[in-house]
Symmetry: C4
């Protein structure tokens, strides 16, 4: 009997932490989001020396509060899931661990807290949380368009890279070391900076021939920036059309997460996990 009770208690906690269809689940997600943002702001403030000197104690205490909160969340996540190792070695599991432990390690060694920057990766959870909102569709279509044009964009970026290596080498031979083109890798770096129209200006050609070739590279970059845009644009239009004349109506999904295998995107009203057959509860 007590076992069932534990079961229920664990099951409820699982719903709150992993899902967002209940009121408590939504509240948990929002609080988690605020904690993540607060933790990132803390790391940022800590990196500003003048600020750190003034409010060191305050920052340190806040860091510990956040770290303990995250630790509690991490342990609860492990407890409430049926196959803890699946969570621990999942993408989010590793990020959760890495963004929690640096503070503990900093007790033994110093200065490892730079790893705390990994917390920024936890922001990716926002997408899961925002999934609930109307952004879901937008985000999915975006990802689909990018996936569909992945091969084409890879070919394009690869061609750009070869172009940069060739142009970079040419510029190195022309400009020489006085202008800042100290080696071929630096030249290639300059070429990428120029072709992508970023143009820092820390290195810039000074010889007439170098400036002429730089101008050619820029006009080329200006012309070929059209290519990835054209690709994504076409894919997006194509996907959008499919989206508007669907043969099969889109299946409404909910934010349920299987207790056993962590699979998501179950359809509304599904009783069993489509992945492992585990019973789902609402």
């Amino acid at each position: 009997m007590s076992d069932t009770k534990t079961q229920n208690w664990r099951s409820k906690l699982h719903d709150i932490i992993y899902e967002a269809d209940t009121r408590a689940g939504k509240a948990f997600d929002v609080i988690l989001l605020i904690a993540i943002i607060a933790s990132i702001i803390l790391v940022m403030l800590e990196s500003i020396k003048s600020f750190d000197e003034k409010y060191h104690t305050f920052l340190n205490i806040s860091e510990w509060v956040i770290t303990i909160l995250f630790s509690v969340e991490y342990i609860t996540r492990i407890i409430t899931v049926k196959k803890p190792f699946k969570y621990i070695f999942s993408f989010y599991g590793i990020i959760d661990l890495l963004s929690t432990i640096p503070k503990y390690i900093s007790l033994l060694f110093g200065g490892v807290h730079a790893l705390a920057a990994l917390r920024a990766l936890r922001l990716l959870r926002v997408f899961r949380i925002l999934k609930l909102a109307r952004y879901l569709g937008a985000s999915n279509l975006l990802v689909s368009a990018l996936k569909a044009s992945r091969a084409k964009i890879s070919v394009f970026l690869f061609a750009v890279l070869i172009l940069c290596i060739i142009c970079g080498t040419v510029m190195y031979l022309i400009e020489g070391e006085e202008s800042g083109f100290t080696s071929i890798p630096v030249s290639v770096y300059w070429c990428i900076v120029t072709l992508t129209t970023v143009g820092f200006g820390d290195i810039a050609p000074v010889t007439p021939l170098g400036q002429f070739i730089a101008a050619l590279i820029m006009i080329l970059g200006y012309g070929i920036i059209a290519v990835p845009t054209g690709i994504v644009s076409a894919e997006y239009t194509a996907l959008g059309k499919k989206d508007k004349n669907p043969q099969i109506p889109p299946i409404p999904l909910n934010s349920q997460s299987c207790e056993n295998c962590l699979a998501e995107d179950h359809r509304d009203g599904a009783e069993y996990c489509y992945n492992c057959g585990e019973k789902l509860h609402f």
Copy 2:
């Protein structure tokens, strides 16, 4: 009888100030536009020190002329509308007030005239005035396309922001303070400058590893700039198509503004306000 006269007088002024279908209304709008542009140029000239020293008296007098003109306009707007508070607390009402009072306040305290820069916001009225012209359609379609792709662009910009926070932190750890990456916020700022292909060059990586990662960020930025373009492009094409095969012919609108509730975009020939039922006059 005198009451009806006042009514007529107020009604006529309302038509001139708030609408642009009559000759006097058009003339008023053009004069107002010129006054707004003149006032902005004045604030700009005042900010140039060498110019201000030479022509201080001229600038001061012109400022007062413009301020008094705007005050008169503001008061007339309040008088001629039936529900003055609706205007006062509307977007344009607040801007009109804020762009008029700084000069008065500067009599009591000094240096508040920087607020006069808010006058630039009055330029937005231009859109209302240009509505009359053939730009109306263009502007509306543009706004619709942007509205339709708002959710998608938000998701995209949010993803870019997370990317910048992660990359910025990495660059801070690699480059350190000697290269100008003095804190994580500054690093994130640099990352935004780079990813958006602006590339000021006030901060630039100097270590080979930093330059390598910077090159990756740039190529990434070059690749993903295609995403918002693709989104807007697709939305715009979709909207344009709807526009060209309209099931329902577009309703011709005029520039009437309801005296009671300030609602606009009444259809040609409408006798009553679609929003509050107030009688419209021509």
Copy 3:
């Protein structure tokens, strides 16, 4: 009889100079193009001090050769056309004159030869000459797409300008004169440099708040660069479709130019000018 001869002689010269359907006409166009490019290169070389000092005599003589050639061409154009004033006050007529006279004026006064830079405008003739080639279609469709989206792009650029004025003023108030934001016009200039993702870096924000707002401006600029692209892309697709399913087959045009009114784009086989009724000859 001699009059008819003169007529014939004038008519033939007209065909050579103004048209490109005959062999002599094509040859003339190519030679003219080479002369224009040579004249531009001369002006460029002259502006390089070290080069000018070495080869001053050579440059001066070449300049005179080109100038005399252009003068002869200009006079012939006036003689061979029936209504000379129409040519003289046409766009090309004015450019032809302005790119020829500076050298003569420099005999009386010094240093006016900077006007010779106007010769670059003569390069626009290239489009007329290239019209003959397969580029005709491409160039026309391009111009049509730009014309069709003119109103929309104007609205967009105007909105961008207002945004720059507002942001520029805000940055001036935040950054102050130490960072290089010396006046509002300079701030607006910086804002345009940033929003268009050019980013010279001659002026860059140094305060945290300034950098934060600069980051917002950049992300905004990154997002809205999609708008003109989307507009042109949609117009171009629409025009291209019309082009491919034409109800009326495109009329083949030739490079005939009416001797009387200079009208161009006559259809193949036309006997009389569509504009003034003058007889055309082949």
Copy 4:
């Protein structure tokens, strides 16, 4: 008999080196790819002075190993093909030679090894090797879209160039030599840097009029960057549509290369070269 044996041996080697359908052919391609990348990295490392000083002997030996490998490959390619001169004077033949000989020449003269940078061109072979993979389709469509829009983009880039010459000359006249606009070519270079939104900042306008015109150029550049994107986007969409509703199913190709004329892209199952009638073997 021995002749047939030689024939077989040559034929087999030909299949390995020029084709990629056999296991040995694939392995050869991968090894060649690794060798090319290694050779490029070697040239890059050599150009870094501090690195070259430390590991000069190691770099020199590695260079010789790579050079000998490439020499062997080059000679084998000549032997195994039926018409060696066709290979020697083909694009890849010349690149292969030029990227191999510099090391030999450096024995006689010094410092010619800069030519080794030409090896980067060998990277283009990657496209042939990757052709086998699913990238084939993507790469072909990309090339087709670029070819289809070549004429239009040429017209566009030409118009941009004329614009840059005109604007550059104007900026030279306005800014003068104090601001870095030392000659018209430099001004044109600056103009290209600005219009393409690269913006190095090594040269930047300082006079108010110069900054005003620079702002106009930037806004123009921001507006017209839409043109090539629109062109490619439209072409790509059009090509993609044709691709999806093909009247004729796409013919499956293999990586066979004719021993006689080096023609590629033979259809699966073809027995004879479509170009010269030579028997193909598998």
